[in-house]
Symmetry: C2
Subunit: 246 residues, 2 copies
């Protein structure tokens, strides 16, 4: 699983020399904006970008801030299906459907670009490159979700947390920020919701990782101390660990 939580971005489209902290990189969003304009819109923490069932009319490119995608069951349970940061595009799952399939909520104040889908669609009919790009983004979405399914279906709690941290680290690095020290934008409960765990489990395992010298945790600030060891967590079974110790 290369990227359990992040839309895969072909490395050929990244410009390493431009990877300075905070500078925006070539991304799905840039690709779209090169084709159509969009309307900027400020959004505040807790606000909904769109809600499940609302009629699909636009994609949203994230300029600043971060978001969560949320799904609901009819019996009231909710699950987070992803966290999203600047440069990513939200609302893709509405393409081909009449309505948005879930909620998108801002985790902090931010800014998005609203890209009307009608325009995009009209353009895509005449521009095969854009059409291909849209397919590529949808396929990326499918890939990302499959990776998460794999995590939810076959990993243990420790492995899930390790995979989550590694992924966040990679995404930060890809955006030009430090891969070893970053702030979580979401609560423990939200992390648990994504990973299929309870918030107490998330908290306990973060503490355990700290005791083991893998990471440093101070509230929402994460420092990755031993990346290799963190990667090693994925794949290890506790049974094995105990038997080796015995």
């Amino acid at each position: 699983m290369s990227n359990p939580f992040m839309r895969a971005v072909p490395s050929t489209r990244i410009h390493p020399q431009r990877m300075v902290a905070g500078e925006s990189l070539t991304s799905d969003l840039d690709t779209l904006l090169a084709c159509v304009g969009g309307t900027p819109r400020r959004i505040r923490r807790g606000e909904f970008l769109y809600r499940v069932g609302a009629s699909f009319h636009a994609l949203y490119g994230i300029r600043a801030g971060s978001f969560k995608s949320v799904l609901l069951t009819e019996d009231g349970r909710e699950q987070i299906t992803g966290f999203h940061m600047a440069g990513e595009v939200l609302g893709l799952e509405g393409i081909g459907a009449e309505t948005y399939a879930g909620d998108a909520v801002a985790l902090e104040d931010g800014e998005v670009i609203e890209i009307p889908f009608a325009e995009l669609d009209a353009l895509a009919c005449r521009d095969p490159a854009l059409q291909r790009e849209l397919f590529r983004m949808l396929a990326g979405e499918i890939h990302r979700e499959r990776s998460l399914m794999l995590l939810l279906g076959s990993m243990r709690a420790e492995e899930r947390l390790a995979a989550f941290l590694i992924n966040l680290s990679q995404r930060m690095a890809a955006r030009g920020f430090s891969a070893h020290r970053f702030m979580l934008r979401m609560t423990r409960e939200e992390i648990g919701s994504l990973l299929g765990l309870k918030l107490e489990t998330v908290s306990r395992i973060l503490s355990r990782f700290q005791v083991e010298g893998l990471i440093e945790v101070r509230n929402r600030e994460i420092g990755i101390v031993a990346m290799a060891a963190l990667r090693g967590v994925i794949g290890r079974t506790d049974l094995r660990r105990e038997r080796e110790a015995a």
Copy 2:
């Protein structure tokens, strides 16, 4: 969660009067074949339709038989991401990518139609309706996978099994077969792999459902005795059950 495992098919595209056992219905596959031709190909149980990493060149419409989609982690774990039956289309996740994202394996002897994607793609550039149809199918795939994520992330073993059986029943009904009696095409282990459970748990819970009078199980033959009660399993917590009993 309307359809945890099945690609959603808008009801307007179903022809109720045609729902006779075994007759093929209007499906994604028919829609594609109305646009482009395809090459029929017989396939035997256990054969691979395509493998992860193989270069993406075609979609496959299932004419007969059933298939599983499988994903692998680099550390060797595998997980099934879906079972597919006649009328459904495989390989969608390759659209927009260069390679197939997983394996597709036949669960029994069957027949597929190979639809070269190059042709489809060329047509889609000139035919907005076809383009829209492809987007719709991709969105359906995303929707199906999100539902499975929800199941994996928030349901208990009993609920997962109940959801699985209900979904199979609906799909059988949609294809004109009995919704109350059908054969499983996959092993307990494969069911477990889809649902994030071990084969013993699958077996135990099927037995429990039988004792409770919800279903009848004889090897791979499933009879659904109390559909309403089976639906009721989803949402109930065992704690609640025990406290009510006490």
